[in-house]
C-alpha cells in the first residue's frame, strides 16, 4: 500500500512517473488485458486504412499510467474521482512523463479534500492527456504547518 504522502500543500508536486517508450508489444498486451480489441491499436493495416500513420496507444492505457501516478502517491482508497481529456495520440516510441500538482485543498470535518491537476506529456513536453483527481486524506498530519 502506498504510504500517506505526509503534509500536503497547494503547489506540491507528485513524484514524476516516467513510463517506457511505447512498443507494439505493450499495445498487444494491453489489447488483451484491457478487453479493448479496437484494431486501430494493434493492426498497422487497420490504422493506415483509418488515415493514421501507424498504431497508437489506447487512451485507457495512458489513463492507467496517470492512475499509477495517483496510487503511487496515496492509497487507492483515498481516490474519490479521476478524470482526463485525451488531447493527442501517443505514438510508438513516445514516452509518457506523468506529473501531478496539488491545486486546491479544502478542510472538511474529518478529512482533507485535495485536488490534483494531472498532465501526461511526451519527452518533448507535448501534452497528451490533462486531467484532475480528487483525493480525500485523513485530517491529522497531512496539512503543511499542522
Amino acid at each position: 500500500m502506498s504510504p500517506f504522502p505526509g503534509p500536503v500543500a497547494v503547489g506540491d508536486r507528485l513524484p514524476t512517473l516516467v513510463k517506457p517508450p511505447l512498443t507494439r508489444a505493450t499495445l498487444a498486451y494491453f489489447c488483451g488485458a484491457s478487453n479493448d480489441h479496437n484494431p486501430l491499436h494493434i493492426d498497422p493495416d487497420a490504422a493506415r486504412a483509418a488515415g493514421m500513420d501507424d498504431v497508437f496507444a489506447h487512451g485507457m492505457l495512458n489513463m492507467a499510467y496517470l492512475g499509477q501516478l495517483m496510487t503511487g502517491w496515496v492509497p487507492q482508497a483515498c481516490l474519490r474521482s479521476f478524470e482526463v481529456k485525451f488531447g493527442a495520440i501517443v505514438k510508438l516510441g513516445e514516452q509518457l512523463v506523468c506529473d501531478g500538482e496539488v491545486t486546491d485543498i479544502q478542510v472538511q470535518a474529518s478529512s482533507l479534500r485535495v485536488v490534483v491537476r494531472l498532465v501526461a506529456a511526451n519527452r518533448a513536453g507535448e501534452e497528451k492527456l490533462v486531467g484532475e483527481a480528487v483525493v480525500e486524506l485523513p485530517l491529522s498530519g497531512t496539512l503543511s504547518g499542522q
Binding site: A33, G67, Q68, S81, F86
Partner: protein, 150 residues
C-alpha cells in the same frame, strides 16, 4: 435538441472479476505495486484479494464478445470513434472474486460543426454482488466524419 440515441436502454452486463486478468493488466501497464497482482501482498495490505486499479471498471465493462455492437446498432463505425474524455467517481473498491453488474445508458449526444463532429456521452454504474455502487464512470466519445445517420 434531444437525440434519438439518448436513453436507449443498454442491457446490463454481469462480469466476474478474474485474478488472472488483473495480473495480465498489471503486466501490460508495468505495475510494480504487488497489491495489484499478488494475492498475498493484497491481503497483507488489508484487501480481501487482488485490488482492481482505478481504471479497471472500463476493462470489465468491455468483457463481452462484441462490446462495440451497441454503437454499430446506432450506425456508428468504430473506426470513426475516438475516446475524448473519461471520468470515474469512486464509492467502493473492486477486488478479484467480485461479481460486477454494469448498467449503462447514453446520457447525451451533441453535434458540432453542422454534424461533422459528434460527441456521445455514456454513463455506467458498476454494482457489486452486495448491490453496492462501486464506481460510476462517464465516457465521452467523439465521432469523426459522417459515420452517424442521425
Amino acid at each position: 435538441m434531444t437525440s434519438k440515441f439518448v436513453d436507449i436502454p443498454i442491457p446490463p452486463l454481469v462480469v466476474e472479476v478474474e485474478k488472472w486478468q488483473l495480473c495480465f493488466f498489471a503486466k501490460a501497464v508495468g505495475e510494480t505495486n504487488p497489491i495489484y497482482f499478488d494475492e498475498a501482498a493484497a491481503r497483507a495490505a488489508g484487501h480481501p484479494s487482488i485490488l482492481a486499479p482505478p481504471t479497471y471498471a472500463v476493462t470489465l465493462s468491455l468483457c463481452e464478445t462484441d462490446p462495440y455492437s451497441r454503437y454499430r446498432a446506432l450506425g456508428i463505425d468504430w473506426c470513426t470513434m475516438m475516446h475524448a474524455q473519461q471520468r470515474f467517481d469512486y464509492f467502493a473498491p473492486i477486488h478479484a472474486g467480485d461479481c460486477i453488474r454494469f448498467q449503462s445508458r447514453i446520457v447525451d449526444f451533441i453535434q458540432r460543426r453542422q454534424g461533422k463532429l459528434k460527441f456521445l456521452i455514456e454513463e455506467t454504474e458498476a454494482f457489486n454482488q452486495r448491490e453496492e455502487l462501486t464506481t460510476r464512470f462517464r465516457k465521452t466519445i467523439v465521432i469523426r466524419g459522417t459515420g452517424v445517420a442521425e
